[in-house]
């Protein structure tokens, strides 16, 4: 830089200017940025670190609470219990017993020990010296190569020294205890001895002391045993609060409960995890304290077999699988740290190690960077976390084809709503209403087969004809072709016969499917027989007006038409219905006289109608909403034929007025049967169409059964029903017969999808008009049309987008607002999601047409169902959970086989026919009929209650059950069926064989019975045995309650007909039943007739005595003889009445005798009562 030498030239700024400071600052900025990178990766993006620390602290403190309560409070309480006091007493008495002996041994040990210590003290130093010298001697000997030190020269010297030491004499002293009491004083002793002798003495003392210690253990054994028993009891019970409470008397129990409640861990008292022992709790505390915060692998569930599913939910929900239940209150109100509230019940079948968390709950199981990410609330994530009110959506993903899940209350309600309101009439959803499609497929195959048979027959006859012609013209050629042709004809005959067989099978199948098909609403073909014309139009216009409780929804009609379109629709359904007046006799309806309404009312209320139907009298509605409310039928029934129609309906609801032929696609009329060459008649016996030969549909699509009433009874009920009127007047409806309305009304019926719920003549093959809902939950959001609410739904609660249903706060939509406020915590905010769409749509089905410039034809058609908030929420769960099959890995789907499949299929039938209206199917069911007024209390209508079906599969033989379900009157002999004493009666449901098979398998599977039943082969009765059994039969007076043979039932006969016992009941069950009837059905009227005999002491005990003994005894063993304590199980059962010699002579088991007797079924002729 020589240029800068001279001072008057300024330095060149390019060289002179320094960039050090900017570069330094920029470098610092880079360093800072790198530090930020590290912090971001290490902490800022791991919000769970602080969560885990918080959990650690709270969980440890909670566990310590639990532990301390166990160890201090509860221990104190335990010590107050009698059991503990007893044990403690035996400790003190044992202490007293062994005290002296132990003290003596202890004194001897003390003395020996005292001397031993003194000796040791005296010889310690000399022994060490001797050891050192010994080493030197050994070393010297080894150096010289001499094997014995005594022979070594070098060692000699040392050995001498050792001998000198050993010969040294020392004085030692010790203290001994005097004999007698412990504090009897002490004696000081002093001895002198040579070191060598003392070493010997030490060994002797040690042996003596060990011997004495052995003696001590023996002497103290009674005491140590007693202490061990007491402390063991304490430790065991400390770990099991339940056990303590079980064995505590009331006061102690209350005291413990109070103490524990004060300590804030009341949850422990009623949970299964009270079995955790204090040391296990300590283990949990240690593990929690040692928890390595931030270790993601520790809280990750990885399921390699399920598409490498990964869930890290437990990174924050650290107690989800806690071994003891933890509530939010336990963790300082932090719900995040509560354990899964239904862990015990759900994890048994859904092990989180196999299912993870997000598979059921939704959300993004992998994300841990924020709550929003982890819960999948980012709008790009496809599986949002299901809100709390819709948890069941998770169940439905895999349990779509189930209609009932044990414990899944909301799930069941969701499925039930979809069935009940007939959503499936317009929308297809997996599992619902599968029969029509199957029927269509089978019908198609039937037509194909018919065509095929015709073709083959044609070919056969052509062949024959051709050969005949050939024979006439060219005999040689005929001879040549004849064999081949004969073969072909034979083959054709075979094929045709095979096709006929297949046709037969399919025809049966299609008949079954026709019978299983149901619709939600009534068959509108019956309108002209049933309904008064004046009533119809106003009903269609607004069904809720006349019947607020109807499930028929309110349709929206074209306002521009000013009611004319409703009239069109009414005219169409009216004119399309069967013209019963044309041929009154044939259709089985005609004018008839009324019956006795009072008798009808009595029958209506007792025979079982109210298990499905309801009826309103004034303000009070009684009955089930499974089927229609039957109030005020007087307003609507047809004045000429209505009564007759209802009677016909009650007698056999499944009989159509006229059969439907799917091939002709219309109802047949009597004229179709005129001039029929096959002599078919217009009757149910005719299974095929006289026109085309196709299978006829004779079954009404209703689940209503026949109660096997007499015509008079049915007339009485019908009279009672049509007697009730609201007094409302309806205007005359001349438009119903206007021809020009027919086509317009038909188009409207098609437009609104009336045929989804009703059978309407001419619209039988209409398809569903709604969107298919299977897989709806996986629909991309973009496919859900929020209309002009899209923007509001996306931005609600942020920048002024709003929720239209929240705005309708007053007036007619007040109820809608409630729906969206209750349970809104998961919902308020944006509603641009599947749940928001479904809930809004269900509450206000045409909401998304708002602000749209639509015509009536293009407007949304879904009618309004007036659902309440819970129903809407449940249905939303169902829709959210109806995801694409592909969205769930196959390995976790519920694909039941065997018993589980039978249960799944059976539930559909149980729900379809409302079996639970009358029967208990699950142990915790309350059948609807028992909730009716006057039925609820124990003892009311005691003898009218239909039997519980819990355990039916074990009780009843499957062959009988099938027979019974098919025909509960068992051959028509007895219209009241098996239980003559009940006024309610099992109606005939006209199940198909398929349904019966499924029901029988369902009950077998519910009772865990194998699919194939092998009846046990019972020994036939000998003459002696029969005589004895006859004695029991007569003396026990079975016929007081049971019915047998032709004996007419009376007020006293309240039990099943024993004539059926043999074929109906499984002997295994009969045996168990007779042993202990109240044990099986508490409160049953069946008497205990037999006692168990102890094989050892020959005493007899009735089941109640045995049960009481088992409950009282500590072992809890039901097979322990209450008297002698020996094993009862090998004993036989004997009859209560020991006074009959013929019975006493039977040495075998008397119940066995009776079981065989009943199975034999030959009872002595009953005396007429």
């Amino acid at each position: 830089m020589s240029q800068n030498d001279t001072n008057d030239i300024p330095p060149d700024p390019i060289y002179a200017k320094s960039l050090s400071i900017p570069i330094f600052l920029a470098s610092m900025a880079v360093v800072g940025a790198v530090a930020l990178v590290i912090a971001d990766d290490g902490w800022l993006r791991r919000p769970y670190l602080s969560t885990q620390e918080e959990w650690q602290e709270k969980y440890v403190s909670f566990l310590e609470d639990v532990r301390d309560v166990r160890q201090d409070e509860v221990e104190e309480q335990l010590k107050g219990l009698d059991d503990y006091k007893d044990l403690n007493k035996s400790v003190s008495s044992a202490d007293g017993e062994v005290k002296n002996a132990v003290a003596e041994v202890q004194r001897a040990i003390f003395n020996l020990d005292s001397e031993l210590k003194s000796v040791l003290k005296a010889i310690t130093s000399p022994r060490s010296e001797i050891s050192a010298l010994s080493y030197k001697a050994e070393h010297a000997a080894a150096t010289e190569g001499v094997t014995v030190p005594a022979k070594s020269e070098g060692a000699h010297h040392y050995l001498e020294e050792i001998k000198e030491i050993e010969a040294r004499s020392v004085l030692y002293s010790w203290t001994e205890r005097a004999e007698g009491e412990l504090d009897a004083g002490s004696i000081t002793k002093e001895e002198e001895a040579e070191i060598g002798a003392l070493i010997e003495r030490m060994l002797t003392l040690q042996e003596a002391k060990a011997a004495k210690q052995g003696e001590l253990a023996v002497a103290a054994k009674p005491l140590t045993d007693a202490i061990r028993a007491r402390d063991g009891w304490l430790a065991r019970n400390l770990g099991n609060l339940k056990m303590i409470l079980g064995s505590a008397d009331d006061d102690a129990l209350e005291a413990i409960a109070n103490k524990v409640a004060e300590a804030g861990v009341a949850a422990y008292l009623d949970t299964a995890t009270t079995t955790l022992k204090p040391e296990q709790i300590q283990g949990l505390i240690d593990a929690t304290e040692d928890w390595s915060v931030g270790d993601l692998t520790a809280t990750q569930i990885h399921i390699p077999e399920t598409a490498n599913w990964v869930d890290r939910c437990e990174t924050c929900h650290l107690n989800a699988r806690a071994p003891l239940p933890v509530t939010a209150a336990d963790m300082g109100g932090e719900r995040l740290f509560a354990s899964h509230p239904r862990a015990e019940e759900l994890f048994a079948n859904h092990d989180p190690k196999r299912f993870g968390c997000s598979m059921c709950h939704g959300g993004n199981g992998v994300a841990v960077t924020s709550e929003e990410d982890a819960h999948g609330l980012n709008h790009h994530w496809l599986q949002r976390l299901h809100p709390e009110a819709n948890f069941e959506a998770g169940c439905i993903q895999c349990h779509g084809p189930d209609i009932y899940l044990e414990g899944g209350e909301r799930h069941n309600q969701a499925k039930e709503n979809f069935r009940h309101f007939g959503c499936w009439g317009c929308h297809k959803l997996e599992g619902y209403d599968v029969e029509p499609e199957q029927a269509r497929a089978v019908a198609k195959r039937l037509s194909d087969i018919d065509a095929l048979i015709e073709r083959k027959q044609m070919r056969a006859s052509n062949l024959k004809e051709a050969l005949g012609t050939l024979y006439d013209v060219d005999e040689d050629r005929f001879d040549e072709l004849e064999p081949e042709s004969a073969r072909e004809q034979a083959a054709l005959a075979m094929e045709i016969s095979g096709l006929h067989t297949e046709r037969g099978v399919l025809a049966t199948k299609v008949q079954g499917l026709y019978s299983e098909e149901k619709t939600v609403g009534p068959n509108l073909k019956d309108l002209r027989a049933k309904i008064r014309p004046e009533w119809l139009t106003q009903w269609i216009a607004n069904p809720k007006h006349w019947r607020p409780s109807t499930k028929m929804p309110a349709f929206r009609f074209d306002e521009a038409k000013n009611g004319e379109d409703v009239k069109d629709l009414a005219a169409f359904v009216w004119q399309s219905s069967t013209d019963v007046m044309s041929d009154v006799g044939t259709y089985g309806v005609s004018a008839m006289k009324t019956g006795d309404a009072t008798a009808g009312e009595e029958l209506f209320k007792t025979v079982g109608c109210l298990a499905c139907h309801s009826k309103t009298d004034g303000e009070l509605t009684v009955g089930n909403d499974f089927a229609a409310n039957l109030s005020n039928l007087g307003d609507k029934y047809n004045r000429t034929l209505g009564l007759s129609y209802y009677v016909r309906w009650i007698l056999n609801p499944r009989h159509r007025l006229a059969p439907f032929c799917a091939d002709c696609d219309r109802d047949l009329v009597p004229d179709d049967f005129v001039n029929d060459a096959k002599d078919l008649v217009f009757s149910r016996e005719t299974k095929t169409c006289p026109n085309c030969g196709f299978e006829l549909k004779w079954d009404n699509p209703t689940v209503m059964p026949s109660f096997r009433l007499s015509t008079a009874q049915a007339t009485n009920i019908a009279t009672y029903l049509i007697d009730q009127k609201s007094g409302e007047e309806f205007e005359a409806a001349p438009w119903l017969d206007e021809d020009e309305r027919f086509q317009r009304g038909r188009r409207l019926a098609q437009h609104l999808g009336c045929a989804g719920c009703h059978e309407i003549s001419g619209l039988e093959s209409e398809q569903r008009i709604g969107t298919e809902l299977t897989g709806w939950g996986s629909k991309p959001m973009e496919r859900l049309d929020f209309g002009h609410y899209t923007h509001d739904a996306k931005t609600h609660d942020e920048t002024g987008g709003h929720d239209p249903l929240l705005d309708w706060s007053s007036g007619k939509n007040g109820d809608d607002r409630r729906i969206f406020e209750e349970g809104a915590e998961d919902y308020v905010g944006k509603w641009y999601n599947h749940r928001g769409f479904a809930m809004h749509k269900l509450a206000q089905p045409n909401l998304y047409d708002a602000s749209k410039n639509v015509t009536y034809a293009t407007a949304l058609k879904m009618p309004k169902f007036n659902l309440d908030g819970q129903q809407i929420t449940d249905l939303a769960s169902l829709l959210m959970g109806s995801t694409e099959a592909a969205s769930m890995p196959d390995s976790i789907k519920y694909n039941p086989v065997g018993d589980e499949l039978a249960i799944r299929e059976g539930w559909w039938i149980v729900k379809k026919y409302n079996c639970q209206g009358c029967h208990q199917v699950l142990a915790d069911d309350v059948p609807f009929i028992q909730t009716l007024p006057g039925w609820q209390k124990e003892g009311e209508h005691e003898n009218d209650r239909p039997p519980s079906l819990v355990g039916t599969g074990f009780r009843t033989r499957p062959d009988f059950l099938a027979h019974f379900l098919g025909d509960p009157s068992l051959g028509g002999k007895d219209p009241k069926s098996l239980r003559d004493h009940l006024t309610t009666r099992m109606p005939t449901f006209m199940f198909t064989e398929n349904e019966i098979r499924k029901l029988v398998r369902f009950f077998d599977a519910m009772a865990k019975q194998p699919p194939v039943y092998q009846p046990a082969q019972l020994e036939p009765l000998t003459a002696t045995e029969r005589a004895a059994a006859d004695q029991i039969w007569t003396k026990a007076n079975c016929l007081q309650c049971h019915v047998v043979g032709d004996l007419m039932p009376n007020d006293e006969t309240k039990a099943p007909n024993l004539d059926y016992a043999a074929g109906r009941l499984r002997p295994e069950w009969v045996r168990r039943w007779i042993e202990n009837p109240p044990g099986m059905v508490p409160g049953t009227a069946m008497l205990v007739l037999f006692k168990k005999e102890c094989p050892s002491c020959q005493k007899t005990f009735d089941p109640a005595a045995m049960a009481k003994h088992a409950a009282d005894s500590k072992s809890g063993d039901a097979d322990e003889c209450p008297d002698c304590g020996k094993d009862l199980s090998a004993g036989r059962w004997v009859w209560n009445d020991a006074s009959v010699p013929a019975v006493n002579a039977i040495k075998g088991d008397h119940i066995d005798l009776i079981v065989r007797y009943l199975n034999d079924g030959k009872f002595p002729a009953p005396k007429p009562k």
């Binding site: 800068n4 060289y15 960039l19 920029a26 880079v30 899209t790």
Partner: protein
């Protein structure tokens, strides 16, 4: 005015660069021109004073006889570049931390996102699809852009402006480039980012992007204005219109160059000159087509069974 909508567009992490460009481009334009004008004044001064021109070589630190005319790259240039690199590194680190990659849901072949937008730097190309056949907008024009940029040093051999800002000496070159960059590239990208919403419809800034919006768009082809219906006549008519327009435009460009930039024609050989005119024609045709489309609803000028222009 839907401020939320506007904020959503501006704050989308993938739109940050184009938002930055909205501010940086005017700034650097202003800065460059400010410097250029100062230099231009100096140039005028030096041209008027040949003596000063011999010695004067720096505008900021005017001539000093003891100062070097040239300086070394290391360290005097590289240290400035190091400083810039450090600043950019720190800036990018912070950007990367606070703006995550804008991941969306898994691609669904049955469901196209709406609007489906290319990355911001391709939005100019995507916008061109509105005006041209895909094979022109997507294949030919991008190739011409790349080739044209590569060809610039071979057509423009003038050393003027190397190492200093100037407008006066390079009006034509800078004007041409700025037209290409600002109008044909950046403006199109801005339109694609801020203006085009669902359905690639035109939404003014602040207008809500409503996926349900429906607009009535008229699209006519030029030949329809003349009532031509036969497919061959249409092809021939379109060919004449397109090629004729190109020829006329070429003549006009040639005329203008000879009139206002005669030295170019003198200095360039025939290949250089032909390419220059060709590229200029392409650059002018694009906005002409845009005006036809946006102003007169004319979709295609030349319709043939194989391609449309």
């Amino acid at each position: 005015m839907d401020w939320k909508q506007l904020w959503e567009i501006c704050s989308a992490p993938d739109n940050v660069p184009i938002v930055l460009l909205l501010f940086l481009t005017p700034f650097y334009l202003w800065y460059g021109f400010r410097e250029a004008i100062k230099n231009d004044r100096l140039i005028t001064q030096l041209e008027a004073d040949p003596a000063l021109a011999k010695t004067h070589h720096r505008r900021h630190q005017p001539y000093h006889p003891a100062w070097d005319k040239t300086v070394h790259v290391w360290p005097y240039l590289l240290r400035i570049e190091l400083l810039a690199a450090l600043v950019v590194t720190a800036f990018l680190c912070i950007w990367a931390i606070y703006l995550d990659a804008p991941l969306e849901e898994p691609a669904n072949p049955t469901l196209t996102m709406n609007p489906a937008k290319a990355p911001w730097y391709f939005l100019g190309l995507q916008e061109m699809l509105v005006y041209f056949d895909p094979w022109i907008a997507g294949v030919i024009l991008p190739n011409i852009i790349v080739v044209g940029l590569m060809a610039i040093p071979y057509m423009d051999t003038s050393p003027l402006g190397n190492g200093y800002y100037t407008w006066k000496q390079r009006k034509f070159a800078l004007g041409g480039f700025l037209f290409g960059y600002l109008v044909l590239w950046l403006a199109l990208a801005i339109v694609g980012t801020f203006i085009r919403g669902p359905g690639w419809m035109w939404f003014w800034p602040g207008q809500t992007w409503d996926a349900h919006r429906v607009v009535h768009e008229v699209n006519i082809h030029l030949h329809e204005l003349f009532g031509i219906t036969d497919v061959w006549e249409i092809a021939i008519f379109g060919g004449i219109a397109t090629l004729g327009f190109t020829a006329v435009l070429g003549g006009a460009v040639d005329f203008a160059l000879r009139k206002w930039k005669p030295e170019l024609f003198r200095k360039m050989n025939v290949i250089q000159y032909a390419h220059l005119v060709g590229f200029l024609i392409m650059m002018i045709r694009l906005p002409v087509k845009m005006v036809l489309k946006l102003g007169f609803d004319i979709k295609y000028v030349w319709v043939t069974p194989w391609f449309n222009v």
